[in-house]
């Protein structure tokens, strides 16, 4: 039914099967949209947030998707700036994931603010001292960059590519993509960092507060570093999931291996910095404010030492060590385990830097704050996942996301011939209909 839109040389599932998948994801999306409308119409009283928990699951989701979406800027940086050309085989998917992550983050922010119609005040009445201002500006700019990076991919659709203007536009955009990749890396450095700064500058919150250099707390650099380190793991994980769903190998092992190796070394160096930061905070900074580090992990129902060990060791050092070893990367099970742990690890770090910060009492006579999200919060947090499934499904079906797919999954000769004939006819049609445009 939609075969004319499917890229040449690859095979896709039947249209009804595809629509079934879209329908299932669409139902979840509709649930999320319903919750979103409830929140916009009735207000944030639809959530379980309170005056102690003003930042909750949405801010965590925001920070988490931006961290795992970091694979886009870092892969772009490695390919276009460092010159790791093999990554061209996964960069499209990394850009798509980044586009999804950042558009989701912006949507979540629009849901999260009490007065959405005043959202533009952050640009108009900008306070240059606020980390959130920096986040808003860089996030918006980088989303525009990601849109520019995603656009040529959309225009490479088999039908759209037949239109000479789009074809030439795509070609020219590819030529200048290094400029956008560099811009994206620059912007990402700041907004990933300023998201870390959001918690790090809170000098009234000893659990979050960190010293730093100039106006930037150490969390600024740790967030950028961790996004660059852990983001590519999400790109690999998402690739693995798509390969599982489609039953095909989409990217050659050497590409995954390269990305995993770089990610592993980034993670290992990040973990050294993170452990040093944690140790300084635990033994010097927090005690200087009158807090024994044990206080942050005891006397409450949820936040125990386990969360620190899980973040730093099980989901930090362990995946890093797996990914820096050749043997670890070569083993399918070990590689998958490492990327799963890494994604959990970075999401957990963002959880700690948002939700645990809010939970810890600061006044000696105050109590720990507890919070459990309402169904509306859960639905709106799952909404981006359904949106991601839909956009990935559509993009994978109709766009040449994986350049190595055709080579790795050759289709039967008769199918290839039919495909080629169809493609030739289309070219002839276009040539006949628009002779002037072809010249």
């Amino acid at each position: 039914m939609d075969s004319a839109l499917i890229p040449v040389g690859v095979k896709r599932c039947s249209f009804p099967k595809f629509m079934l998948l879209l329908g299932a994801a669409g139902a979840v999306l509709a649930w999320g949209v319903f919750a979103m409308l409830l929140i916009w119409i009735k207000g944030l009283n639809q959530t379980n947030m309170n005056d102690y928990y003003g930042f909750a699951i949405w801010i965590w989701a925001d920070l988490a998707v931006i961290a795992i979406g970091g694979g886009a800027f870092f892969s772009g940086f490695l390919k276009y700036i460092v010159g790791k050309d093999e990554l061209k085989n996964i960069i499209n998917y990394a850009v798509l994931l980044g586009f999804i992550c950042y558009s989701s983050a912006l949507l979540i922010l629009a849901i999260d603010i009490g007065q959405p119609l005043r959202g533009w005040f952050i640009f108009w009445h900008a306070n240059v001292h606020s980390m959130l201002t920096e986040v808003a500006f860089c996030l918006t700019c980088y989303f525009i960059v990601l849109t520019i990076e995603y656009l040529p991919l959309v225009l490479e659709n088999r039908k759209l590519d037949k239109i000479p203007f789009f074809h030439n536009l795509t070609h020219n955009m590819h030529e200048t993509m290094a400029v956008f990749a560099a811009t994206g890396a620059f912007l990402s450095f700041f907004h990933q960092g300023s998201l870390g700064g959001v918690a790090g500058v809170l000098f009234g919150r000893p659990f979050a507060f960190r010293e730093g250099v100039l106006i930037w707390p150490w969390t600024f650099f740790l967030f950028t570093w961790s996004a660059a380190a852990f983001g590519p793991c999400f790109t690999i994980l998402a690739t693995k999931i798509l390969e599982k769903v489609t039953g095909k190998t989409l990217v050659k092992f050497n590409v995954i291996d390269l990305l995993a190796r770089i990610s592993g070394w980034m993670m290992l160096t990040y973990m050294i910095a993170k452990i040093a930061d944690t140790a300084y905070w635990a033994f010097v900074l927090a005690p200087s404010k009158g807090f024994d580090v044990g206080f942050f992990y005891t006397n409450n129902e949820f936040y125990g030492w386990w969360i620190l060990i899980l973040e730093l060791v099980i989901c930090g050092i362990v995946p890093a060590l797996i990914l820096v070893t050749k043997k670890g990367r070569a083993s399918k099970t070990a590689l998958t385990t490492a990327v799963v742990l890494a994604v959990i690890g970075v999401c957990l770090n963002r959880w700690v830097m948002v939700l645990q910060v809010m939970a810890v009492p600061v006044m000696s006579f105050d109590t720990w704050a507890t919070y459990c999200p309402s169904w509306q919060e859960v639905a709106t947090t799952i909404l981006p996942v359904a949106y991601a499934v839909i956009l990935i499904a559509i993009s994978y079906r109709y766009l040449p996301i994986f350049p190595q797919e055709a080579e790795l999954n050759p289709i039967a000769p008769e199918e290839a011939l039919a495909d080629e004939q169809e493609s030739t006819e289309e070219t002839a049609d276009v040539a006949g209909a628009e002779p002037a445009a072809q010249t």
Binding site: L44, D51, R118, G119, I122, G204, R205, V357
Partner: protein
């Protein structure tokens, strides 16, 4: 307004006098049109610009002692006006006045990101989770000097700033450039039956608070964090002063740091 000398308005609350009656809370809500709901059982959803905390010395009967601690906004100065909340607000919806030392909240500019609430260690900032609704007829008692706040924005204690504006107008109309100490008093100060709250200019030697803040038993909440608050407390009980900040087990209760 430039004719006014720089002020640092603040409070000194004598915890030995506070009985925990809650009059300050009632006076504050009434004066500032603070909204309430039919169901106020979830206290972390209640808006209480002035909130009275209750805590004990942790000892069992008969050695149990109780302290009631009224907590308004601390109007922190931080370092150079960078109070915890002011420095983080992305839309400049809250500001530190170097003329009065008061941390303001611009309701029409706040877009409800709640970053300031996360930044405040005293939990002095409150979000309007609902639109304010007063029982029929009760809207007639609303103060015309304070604008009610809408759903989706943050509000907090303003040290009854509208009273300062009224006092300034009166002073100007009488040809004066200075507001007298008794002309500008917050509603909680006037509402306290025990006289536990004293309000005035912390840097004016003629004001009562100037002397009281120098009391040997005076302290501020969470001084070690560097928030530099403008609300002082006095208590003759060492365990109460110790509860005002966080200390490691081996540390002695600290001395106050004056402005």
């Amino acid at each position: 307004m430039k004719d006014f000398h720089e002020k640092k308005y603040g409070m000194v609350i004598d915890l030995d006098k506070c009985t925990g009656c809650g009059s300050c809370m009632v006076a504050c809500m009434s004066e500032n049109n603070v909204p309430f709901k039919e169901d106020e059982t979830k206290k972390r959803l209640s808006i209480t610009w002035m909130k009275v905390y209750k805590f004990t010395n942790g000892k069992s009967f008969p050695e149990t002692e109780v302290c009631y601690l009224p907590r308004p906004c601390m109007h922190c100065e931080g370092h150079g006006g960078h109070s915890p909340c002011v420095s983080v607000c992305p839309a400049t919806a809250t500001d530190y006045s170097t003329e009065t030392g008061i941390v303001s909240q611009i309701y029409t500019r706040c877009f409800g990101c709640r970053y300031c609430m996360g930044a405040c260690p005293y939990h002095a900032r409150y979000f309007n989770w609902w639109d304010p609704v007063w029982p029929k007829g009760m809207e007639k008692q609303l103060s015309p000097n304070v604008s009610p706040r809408m759903r989706g924005i943050v509000e907090k204690c303003s040290f009854c700033y509208h009273r300062l504006q009224l006092a300034k107008e009166k002073a100007y109309s009488e040809g004066r450039r200075e507001v007298r100490e008794n002309e500008y008093q917050t509603s909680c100060t006037q509402g306290c039956p025990a006289g536990a709250i004293t309000f005035g200019d912390l840097i004016n030697p003629k004001h009562e608070v100037y002397k009281l803040k120098k009391d040997q038993n005076a302290f501020r909440l969470l001084e070690r964090l560097g928030t530099n608050p403008k609300v002082y407390y006095i208590s003759s009980r060492e365990w109460v002063r110790r509860a005002g900040d966080n200390y490691l087990a081996h540390e002695k209760t600290g001395k106050k740091q004056n402005h």
